[in-house]
């Protein structure tokens, strides 16, 4: 659960017994991970991730998206470009991004409304201009929304709006940035697929696992969200089929249940804990995770 809008806390009560699938035990290992500015030596995984030359994160003004931007900037060997895309980089909700940009010349803020095709095209042009002929290595489709929505309350409008943001948005963004991802794949010296070469990471959720629905349904039905994200899992698999020959890695990622606006403050994980795991997973992604739904801990989830 991640993204730009919606909240689990609005209208939902946590059941007395937390759902076993969502309340994953927090790994003690997390406490040993390198965090931005904590002064400790970076882990091997963090070093490996240093090879990513450029990354774009959608929905980057808060929550997991913002933390991903911070981590990439804080790496010992950061990307040449970190593109932080969000709806309104000039608005009050992007204050933290603007402060970061003032300190980091490699951070470019990009206006991108994932349901607006003109905005997406303009964003791709801006990113292409910054890259000056190079490709984009890593696209993280993180922007998404979740609304409280039961089988009883679901409306056509809500189903379509959530699908537009969570499925159509990532599809359009990927299409717009595909030429830059292809360029990165062609330019790369890496033979094997990986995030340092060219990769699309679609932010999904365990709630989109049809197989695991019995473990999570009564905790949080969110019909519109689940249907849109199950479709996003399908899109990821289709992209993995369509882009494999070009060497572009495609993976769907479950970030855990995270204390964000979307995940609510009742969630299991802090943003930092989740993104610690995600950064390690990004470093280790290979053909094995191509067309696969993986968790922030690197485990495979069933569809």
């Amino acid at each position: 659960m991640s993204g730009e809008g919606g909240s689990l806390s609005a209208g939902w009560k946590r059941p007395a017994l937390p759902c076993p699938a969502l309340s994953l035990p927090r790994l003690k290992a997390f406490t040993c991970c390198c965090r931005v500015g904590d002064g400790r030596a970076p882990s091997t995984d963090t070093m490996a991730a240093a090879q990513v030359g450029s990354v774009l994160v959608t929905g980057s003004n808060r929550g997991i998206g913002l933390e991903l931007v911070k981590r990439f900037l804080g790496k010992p060997n950061p990307p040449q470009w970190v593109f932080a895309a969000c709806r309104d980089p000039e608005g009050p909700r992007a204050q933290e991004l603007r402060s970061l940009a003032a300190k980091h010349p490699s951070l470019a803020l990009v206006q991108l409304e994932t349901t607006n095709e003109e905005s997406i095209r303009a964003a791709a042009r801006k990113v292409e201009g910054c890259l000056g002929g190079s490709g984009l290595n890593l696209l993280i489709n993180n922007a998404g929304i979740m609304r409280p929505c039961t089988l009883d309350s679901a409306t056509a409008q809500e189903m379509l709006e959530v699908y537009a943001t969570n499925l159509v948005g990532p599809m359009l963004v990927t299409k717009a940035f595909l030429p830059l991802l292809r360029k990165a794949a062609q330019e790369s010296h890496q033979k094997a697929m990986c995030c340092a070469k060219a990769a699309i990471v679609n932010m999904s959720t365990v709630l989109a696992s049809i197989e695991k629905t019995p473990e999570t349904y009564f905790f949080v039905p969110v019909i519109s969200y689940r249907c849109s994200k199950a479709a996003l899992n399908m899109l990821t698999k289709l992209q993995s089929m369509g882009y494999k020959e070009e060497g572009i890695l495609c993976t769907a990622l479950h970030p855990g249940w995270v204390k964000t606006e979307l995940g609510s403050d009742q969630a299991d994980l802090t943003v930092e804990e989740s993104v610690n795991g995600i950064m390690k997973v990004l470093c280790s992604l290979s053909e094995k995770q191509h067309g696969v739904l993986v968790t922030w801990e690197g485990k495979t989830l069933p569809w």
Copy 2:
């Protein structure tokens, strides 16, 4: 693959080697099945299905939907009511349905445009009136569309239109008929879940199986269709969770690759062969298939 619109033949070439997942061996057993008016004794399965008191089929003016209507009418012990729903029961494409209605007083044609909420509400009122206080046993959400659509060609409008018909439509139809399905479940003497008690059957497809995508992708990408039907599989699972306590069976069904307008004349199965299998499957559905994707042969498909 089934439904009211679109065609596999438009813009698609069948590869030299047919896809193994779609060219299922035709079971010789099919030739022994009872067909409408063929004079042979009905099979045990067909007899069992006799217990369905009322059934509604959407997208019933042609293809699989029309054949389902014929089979229910032709049963040795047919339902008291067969509701054949389609967009335009007065139009030229519903001629065969009108001919059937002239011969079968138990067949009621129902105007139902699955993307029009007023039309759905009016259809539910009409069906409720016919049933005169009884419930509806079986709802078959068969209406659907498929459009040629690749990762390159997919547009926002197309993704949303196909989702509206293939996911939102069945969701709205189910919501509108739920009170009648609940009534049927409450009235029934059947203890176990089955189609004779109360059931929702959502027409899905093997193309919606994310797991099986590698077997089918290069044969027919149909991105918008696959994403919408993967979401429909999720909706079926959610419905199976939400309606289990009320005794309403919920199943997603893959009808095979069928020679319909949607499946094209290159398909493996005739409509009759597919519906032979589907009728047997409907008869045998039980809690085992609740929240499951099953084929016209009764086999379980992975999500």
